[in-house]
Symmetry: D2
Amino acid sequence: MSTFGQVYRVTTFGESHCKSVGCIVDGCPPGLQLTEKDIQIQLDRRRPGQSALTTPRSETDTVTIQSGTEFGYTLGTPICLIVPNKDQKPKDYTETDFYPRPSHADWTYLKKYGVKASSGGGRSSARETIGRVASGAIAEKYLSLVHGVEIVGFVSSVGTAKLKCLNTFLGEDKGAEFFHLMETVKRDVVDATPTRCPVPETAQEITEEILRRKEENNSIGGTVTCVIRNCPIGLGEPCFDKLEAKLAHAMLSIPATKGFEIGSGFEGAKMSGKDHNDAFISDGKGGLKTVKNHSGGIQGGISNGEHIYFTVAFKPAATISLSQETSAYDGEPGTLEARGRHDPCVLPRAVPIVESMAALVLMDALMIQNSRTATSSRLPQIPSEFKSIKPV
Amino acid sequence: MSTFGQVYRVTTFGESHCKSVGCIVDGCPPGLQLTEKDIQIQLDRRRPGQSALTTPRSETDTVTIQSGTEFGYTLGTPICLIVPNKDQKPKDYTETDFYPRPSHADWTYLKKYGVKASSGGGRSSARETIGRVASGAIAEKYLSLVHGVEIVGFVSSVGTAKLKCLNTFLGEDKGAEFFHLMETVKRDVVDATPTRCPVPETAQEITEEILRRKEENNSIGGTVTCVIRNCPIGLGEPCFDKLEAKLAHAMLSIPATKGFEIGSGFEGAKMSGKDHNDAFISDGKGGLKTVKNHSGGIQGGISNGEHIYFTVAFKPAATISLSQETSAYDGEPGTLEARGRHDPCVLPRAVPIVESMAALVLMDALMIQNSRTATSSRLPQIPSEFKSIKPV
Amino acid sequence: MSTFGQVYRVTTFGESHCKSVGCIVDGCPPGLQLTEKDIQIQLDRRRPGQSALTTPRSETDTVTIQSGTEFGYTLGTPICLIVPNKDQKPKDYTETDFYPRPSHADWTYLKKYGVKASSGGGRSSARETIGRVASGAIAEKYLSLVHGVEIVGFVSSVGTAKLKCLNTFLGEDKGAEFFHLMETVKRDVVDATPTRCPVPETAQEITEEILRRKEENNSIGGTVTCVIRNCPIGLGEPCFDKLEAKLAHAMLSIPATKGFEIGSGFEGAKMSGKDHNDAFISDGKGGLKTVKNHSGGIQGGISNGEHIYFTVAFKPAATISLSQETSAYDGEPGTLEARGRHDPCVLPRAVPIVESMAALVLMDALMIQNSRTATSSRLPQIPSEFKSIKPV
Amino acid sequence: MSTFGQVYRVTTFGESHCKSVGCIVDGCPPGLQLTEKDIQIQLDRRRPGQSALTTPRSETDTVTIQSGTEFGYTLGTPICLIVPNKDQKPKDYTETDFYPRPSHADWTYLKKYGVKASSGGGRSSARETIGRVASGAIAEKYLSLVHGVEIVGFVSSVGTAKLKCLNTFLGEDKGAEFFHLMETVKRDVVDATPTRCPVPETAQEITEEILRRKEENNSIGGTVTCVIRNCPIGLGEPCFDKLEAKLAHAMLSIPATKGFEIGSGFEGAKMSGKDHNDAFISDGKGGLKTVKNHSGGIQGGISNGEHIYFTVAFKPAATISLSQETSAYDGEPGTLEARGRHDPCVLPRAVPIVESMAALVLMDALMIQNSRTATSSRLPQIPSEFKSIKPV
């Protein structure tokens, strides 16, 4: 369905050629200072036409808050956010519409619903992500303001151009350079180049790769890595709603994603327990830290206070400016002619979407955990003899 | 929370030292022939002590159906499934309990709940997966009986011993050998060796790797790959509940998982659109097929009838028979002494868990889609002039 | 939360002084012919200013479909419906704002959220019901088109002016007149007078009662009775989501409601089993009918095909044009002066809200049952020897 | 479905002739002292055979905690509660099974599911309520321990024998006697007679009414009234999940219920706004109280700290020891012969069920509100100039 979250709940709507796209955020805590500006920042990072690397279509996606705030503060009631579509007319049938576009959702939508949006993929349109980014920006504002949470996504690879330090846990430096990046990377450094890759050398390679594919009228895939710093301890619901499970769900719900790994990820699957296991040390503040953070900030499905880091794989954009041999809806083989402009690489624009989905996951998990903690904290203390279940 | 699914809903309970573990399955279609035998098969594939490669602890996890069936048929009412625990007493405090076990959930559970199960990780116990496997077996029975769905998981790597044909989309044969395996692999071949790897050469390497780690008192990670054949077309809810998003959620909710990739996965992120895009051809039955299936059977979040295949990364088991330098709950450094027997490699036992979670995802998606199709099919036909939204 | 329904899901937003009010309908079946006109009809029956009996404030609440349809057909994607507010500015603080209005939600909202909308009750505003009526109109269109469902609500009492035949099961005619009304009442007869009471004699009494209260600057409560004809058999989920439980939930979620009774209701609580029990007879079409329908069309939480009828109690509107002795937020006693115009009796306008909420309950229950039936119908037949569980 | 609640979630299972009935409680706060004894108390008040007024079938429904506690404390993990059935065999087909029992769920279950439990009504069995009472007892323990909440239900009428002070808001004493009862009634007084009516005079009338119906081999309906004292302020979610809406949902989900009214209820529908409106006065502790509590402790869907009181109507038990003219499943008219013993009046046993369902509603609402309050309280204070939205 189109709703995400259990307590901080987002419901999105809209496709390419309808009047508007947007969302309702239900369950936002009351008393949060909030204006359109807080949301527009991330929408601007998502919009097309930001640089020569992305689609030349320029859209100024301007959000309005329809409800849920007064005098710049949230009321605790549902917040409806709307961004009008530029092109509000459903498209009439043209010759190219005989063909479901390869690797698009045209055919599966038609099979699922019996109808499809005239634009083809309907809700699989990139415009659907506007509601995600807008609602994530609100979650992020709270998390940052109250807990100092920092969520920083960046492009870690495009094609074979790849951040050298990525997933080097098994290498000589045991990931030291990677963990340094996780510790220090900031959004302004990420935004310093249109690639949204914070390491200049790799950014240069990525730029070249993208321009080469653009030249070819082709497209190229890549990965976004994201780090979450200062995540409160204790988030994530054991069993089905482990924090990493919700993050995986969130990330794989972004269009064009094909993979997700957290902590040591697929590299971790090659390691031995002795190498992978993460000893505890005192954090000097009465709590514990882990030494290596191979877990990626989550153990047993629950955040442990270390940096949460994960990587998301995106396939190349399916829209390319090349003609393609394929079949029409009725099975007749034919040629789908190249259409106009397209986005050779969606990765830079995917960064705020990844960050926003992470914020939605965290905010919901936080509010569920706040419920438990607040409810539980009013109970009488457990006597100290029960140290099997309460050792400290 | 401990519930998974929207219409076919599973709620699990139980930890290591309580009376029993199990689940309630709510929403199971009525009239399905079902006895304990249908469920026990998969539980037996999950249980410890199946071979020299897994833990020597032998548990016979015998399931009983408490409710929801009569005369061997489901009533459509909640099915409660229970497996008694052997060791039903909470453990008294011992010296090793001073230490949260490294890379276990002991510490995060304590921080989350303020208490923890005496066994340490509580619900992060592998026994929690019994309810998943039991409920998944019911879903699988329906899917197989009615739609001929085949869900086959297998171990595709352990440590660096890896199936050679895995993710070879960019290689010379463009994945031909891999796709052949996806087409043909069966559960009996998988179960032919204790490794649950269906390719004898790799199975041999994996056996050696596991025995070597067992010798070292160490453990080792790996990957499970799973293919779903004959999945009905049209499953998966666009936007947040895309079929791959639900699969990712399901897989990352299994203990010890660190990554998930579907279709071309992380390899796909290196490809160009021209190479990745998947032309349509007639399936000869009035529908369409894709040529390459890089999408892994899902496009726009919706199943397209091709084989769904995905790989899940598991970290090495955290329990090892080696002493570990770490810290006590109070932050004091010390040595956690090695305990008894352990499972050097959980991968073979993880196979039925991966299959079961896949079955739960599919069954729920199917029932939601059945609701839409049944409801929609009673509407008057859309006139043929609306070919923009209904081209065939 | 602000979402209602499990498969046909409605999420509403908006309060008095924000930009707009409305809702997102998620899960609407694709291929349903739908334009704004279908929705506007019920919104017009809900809007203020329809007659001398309701509030003189005239609002033309004009709905637009923002998403989810193309060329006049639903796509199966979320439908966002929006109605702009006339007064879009939050109200500045005035003297009357010192006082929480008696029997309004001003004080509880403030206690719940720590803030409140400047208009006072925020979401407890009658404008919140616009989203309900709009989404209910879509559900009703489907139910009527496909199943011939007729949902007819009407005012059955205002103050002590009451339909004589209401709840006369214990009377001489054993409810015959009442059941005749249930069988025959139509929406055009209901709308024939501004009272929305279909029995002229009672309508006259109700008119007098309302005008008298208007004169007094007072208000008056009443009841709405609603009948659902042609409800498909089998709707409602046993246990917690019985059809009557969902109807009760829906009705008591309408502002100002204080009671709900279904079938024999509170009268039934006075009856003996022998008098209340409802024998079955053949319906002449291979099924069964009940003789008396004391159950109100629902048995064991499941619709049985008989007319569903229920009555909802509304307290008098809290806003009256009389000064009231009460206390300020800080506890200081004082006088809340009378404000301007108000609605002496909300009952006539409540009719479409009751109908819409009933439509939402039915549509969701139908789609859940359609899922079960469609999924179950593909199973092999149960052999005839199992007549304990399948007697026919 | 069989799950109730959003954060404190209960899922029940079981019918008459299966192995056991019970439930899983998910989301219970950790650290609550809990043993079977806490739960058994209410189960004992629910069980049959308590007195000459109820069914002579004597069942000792003994509950065991299967999971979720250790050393007598809750772990925060799912609590599975099980009560074995005495009669664990599905019933073979007998002649009486030709007939769906009048006013039972036999026929609707068969129509809904295509099968039915051999006992007839399946989940509509009174045994299904065991899971409700068991899970409600846990909720009640928390509410009582931490907030001093008192939930007291009692029988307020049986047939025409009725508590004289019930719903006397319009009477001479304006409900004073009724409100005194709400203030003072305790569970031990309720349990002093087998009628569970706390007013001796009415208890006597009720006893006579029940014995008369028993003599006749007939049954009789009635009402349960329930008061909740010390409910925390701020519970209930505006819009669809108003506290009264959830209570109505909960109560109408109990088998055999036909009506619900809260606060002034159906009497309130006869009143004028001037008479019904409830002025505020200082509560002497910095907050406000209402003078009349016609709202029944809830305003705008949110608890206001006053006593919550409501009444639930139960139809007479459908099982009577009289032969009934009705039809077989195939439509053939015939006589359903009287069977054995039955419960002439379920009202006394319904009292703990009503209380438990109320506890489930409150606990869930509390945990949702605790989430909001805890999350919101960490935000910076709203400056005092915003008194339109934050007047104190």
